[in-house]
Symmetry: C2
Subunit: 545 residues, 2 copies
């Protein structure tokens, strides 16, 4: 038996586009003599469809796509995920299902059992879990059909669910498992995905065909990396990361096993590629082509420009250099050097005159009150407004350049440097930013060395340095990681050896800047815990604040 896995860049709600890609893949699989072609979870409507699922019309369009696919199943079976209606009056109105299509009929439907409802996932919001399990019989083989999370709760000490779906299918003696996934990237995910598949192999000793989405849906980036595993626990194949593709597998070869084809998983290189795809898909899926950003001479905006040029093409990226009276000469020079290295269009728009116009109007109100964060923020907001003016006039979408360390502690100006349609680096800590810069410069100096080596500064007052108001990043970032990614309690972080006053101060900064993060752009997610829909915190809360 021959099985094809089609790793596709789906687009939420783009039924026509998703169907077209699937029909093309079916044709390729048929040409290759495949018996089955497999697609990912909710392949008809894209993932995550969120509250579009509350519209009956939306669900009907998914059924229509299934109808169109059925017409192609005279000589090949199609396995795909799609929402289906729950016929029972009790429970949620929909199931998240995997369908087995053959001979113009839906031969079998298995609903998803484990509905991830944590981090970025909201599946119990819309779906009723499965309470019945079975296998589909096809050409003398029995196949266990599963959806994403259904294979993830195997062999853990603290399972999040009370059912192990594959355990319920094993009494039917399946020959292999197909898993239709939409499992978003983080820099650890490919590793944990393989560990999960191997845990299933150890428990069930039958092959698994795991097919994932690829491509970005706003903040969520799907990395592909679809997997075929052999009963001996080897990874028979791992499909490429961040690329669409279709591959075809002979079941007997897979059962034989004995080969392991796992890909390299370098964290920084994965982050780099994920961010490029994240930018690319944000633009292409919204029908956009051009970006703008402010280039400060600092490392964050430099990296953002590099990634944007790679994602969209240098001729589609335009940068603004907006020096103030507090900007150093090298800032402008470093920014110019980068623009030249990348071959991107730049404009120099000094902000002094506009800033002074603001201060003149505010003088009657401010009187002799001293310079403070107000004046710093006005500078940042003048820059935000200039960036947005370019955006509005020329259709370039503003990229936000804030890093995760700044986002965490609220070191940024709302409606100023926090402007932008998408946050490129909002899930990358400053200490990782430096590694990303080294990675970008690994062959030649694209980002000027001075940009990398100078002490970070917002340059909003004379001789300002980030370290004036924040702990050094090599102290700050590990504390943030303990608190945000690991959700460790303050006393445990302190017990791990961090200075108590610093820990308390940092956690307070994080919790009292929730209001800023609430109003910033979606953040391309590359870590296991990004700001945004995966981290939901009260604004008026009074905890560690």
């Amino acid at each position: 038996m021959k099985i094809s896995l089609a790793q596709i860049n789906h687009h939420i709600g783009n039924f026509e586009g998703n169907l077209k890609k699937m029909l093309e893949a079916v044709a390729v699989a048929r040409d290759q003599g495949s018996d089955i072609v497999c697609f990912g979870e909710l392949a008809t409507c894209g993932y995550p469809p969120r509250d579009f699922l509350e519209f009956d019309d939306f669900v009907q369009l998914a059924y229509k796509s299934v109808d169109s696919l059925l017409e192609e199943t005279d000589d090949i079976a199609i396995v795909l995920g799609s929402p289906t209606k729950n016929p029972e009056p009790e429970g949620k109105n929909l199931h998240n299902s995997v369908l087995f299509l053959y001979k113009r009929e839906i031969q079998f439907i298995q609903h998803k059992t484990l509905l991830p409802t944590y981090d970025v996932f909201d599946e119990y919001r819309h779906f009723e879990p499965a309470r019945e399990w079975g296998v589909v019989e096809f050409k003398g083989k029995k196949i266990a059909l599963t959806v994403c999370e259904d294979i993830w709760d195997v062999g853990t000490n603290d399972p999040m669910y009370t059912v192990v779906p594959c355990d319920r299918m094993m009494p039917f003696n399946p020959d292999f498992i197909i898993n239709t996934s939409a499992s978003p990237f983080n820099y650890d995910h490919a590793r944990s995905r393989i560990a999960t598949v191997k845990a299933n192999m150890e428990r069930y000793r039958i092959p698994m065909f795991y097919v994932n989405h690829v491509g970005a849906q706003t903040e969520l980036i799907f990395d592909g990396g679809s997997l075929v595993s052999s009963p001996d626990g080897n990874i028979f194949d791992e499909m490429p990361y961040f690329e669409e593709g279709i591959r075809h597998y002979d079941l007997d070869e897979v059962i034989k096993g004995g080969v392991n084809r796992e890909q390299a998983k370098d964290k920084i290189s994965l982050i780099h590629n994920a961010l490029v795809l994240g930018i690319k898909d944000y633009f292409s899926k919204l029908g956009l082509t051009k970006a703008v950003l402010g280039l400060s001479g600092g490392i964050d905006s430099a990296i953002t420009a590099v990634l944007a040029a790679e994602a969209l093409g240098a001729n589609n990226v335009r940068v603004l250099l907006m020096p103030s009276q507090y900007s150093s000469d090298h800032s402008v020079n470093d920014a110019l050097a980068l623009a030249q290295n990348l071959g991107i269009q730049h404009h120099i728009v000094p902000i002094k005159n506009v800033y002074e116009a603001f201060m003149a109007e505010l003088q009657p109100l401010f009187g002799d009150l001293p310079f403070n964060v107000t004046e710093e923020n006005i500078q940042a907001r003048v820059r935000g407004t200039l960036n947005m003016a370019i955006s509005n006039k020329f259709g370039n979408i503003l990229l936000n350049t804030t890093n995760k360390s700044e986002m965490a502690v609220g070191y940024g100006t709302l409606y100023g440097d926090l402007c932008g349609g998408i946050s490129v680096l909002g899930d990358v800590y400053k200490t990782e930013i430096y590694k990303l810069a080294a990675h970008i410069n690994r062959d030649k100096e694209i980002i000027p060395l001075n940009t990398i080596q100078k002490p970070p500064s917002a340059e909003l007052r004379p001789n300002q340095k980030d370290s004036d108001s924040l702990p050094p990043y090599d102290i700050l970032d590990p504390i943030l990681y303990e608190y945000i990614e690991l959700r460790r309690d303050p006393q445990d972080i302190i017990a791990a050896g961090y200075d108590e006053a610093t820990v308390r101060r940092v956690l307070k900064l994080v919790n009292t800047s929730e209001f800023k993060r609430h109003q910033t752009a979606p953040v391309l997610r590359v870590s296991p815990k990004a700001f945004g829909s995966g981290r939901r915190m009260p604004i008026v809360g009074k905890y560690l604040s």
Copy 2:
């Protein structure tokens, strides 16, 4: 038996503050000779605690509050909601529980069964549902303890759940039901709450004591309205809306029934009071006192100013009048008249000079390109920056004045008029805004009649009117209501008699402005479907867009 209901304004994560209020209520109930005093859902930590629940330290603090309350239970029983740990390895780590405390012991714990995971609710994100049910025996009575949603799925045709918790408790023959709730306000909620309680009375024929939170937690406003219902289906008492309070009930009197004390429920007056409380609590729970907003002479900012003055006191509200060359004289005069009527501080800061400074810097880039939305947005962003400058310099928090109709169709400038810490009117349609104005002016002209009567305009270009780019509000708002509140399919809205082209255009405007709503302030929720955490839509989606 005497039962007290304490309707309290809890504060998320403010364990000390919540405990103090509960201890005071216990003392009052004891003085009144009560046998039991009841508090709301998650009364220790406040509702909704969101991902604070992922910190063990946070949950421990809730246990500590329970310990403190236990010390007060020698002569009175306490019923309250609090998170408890799930001792089983399988399933989520926490339960959302109601505890019965007496004689310094936790006599009984009933976990919540129905975990709302829709609209603004995310409970399955954190909690494992109950799978066992019972009653607590106390002074010869059997009491069924329930948490909020547990009573809401009774007697509906399309239940969202597969279990009816009270049905599972009835075999134990409870004498009455206590429901500990945290059920957020919308203008229909008091009515549906009463209908729900009555449906339970019809089914079970035993009294119910329903205790709700009061007070706002950022966007969610809890209205109180705690209820006591008699077995005959009468509402024995309904506690006040939007006010803390404690009341004491004799069980025999409640059982006797025959009296119905439902309060009046005028939609506009409820919205008015909810918004005032929403503003008040946003400020007080963040330790803030002063507000600023831009007063345009239009109706939205006028109403926002009125509500702010009512919530915070006139002397804590400061307004900016920021005329441009496109502002009409009457705009400034209407705004001045309102400021005078309210006795609030005002400043006039014309934006012409700053706007021209921007245009001068952009001239080399813009050349002869015609005036378009870019220049309109610059004006809005100059105002946003001026408002924020006042906010930063004087500590006044900026109130956003955008209404729901504008939010829906993206008729507003990101980082301009969409700035602000909290959106006061973002859940109030323009047609409701007029009713709110009439309500405010019911005794005397607070909002100048001219503000109410003139055609709505953003005044960002000569002679601009909202109706130049949007359908009239009496057409627009009903279409938005069908789509947003009722989640009706486009073809059904058209079939209901609306012009097809208008419907398609409006729905497209809604879906393509998701990116703006993603970056705006939290919206005080007064409808059954507000923008924000209750409505989660993809940004790069391609559906009706």
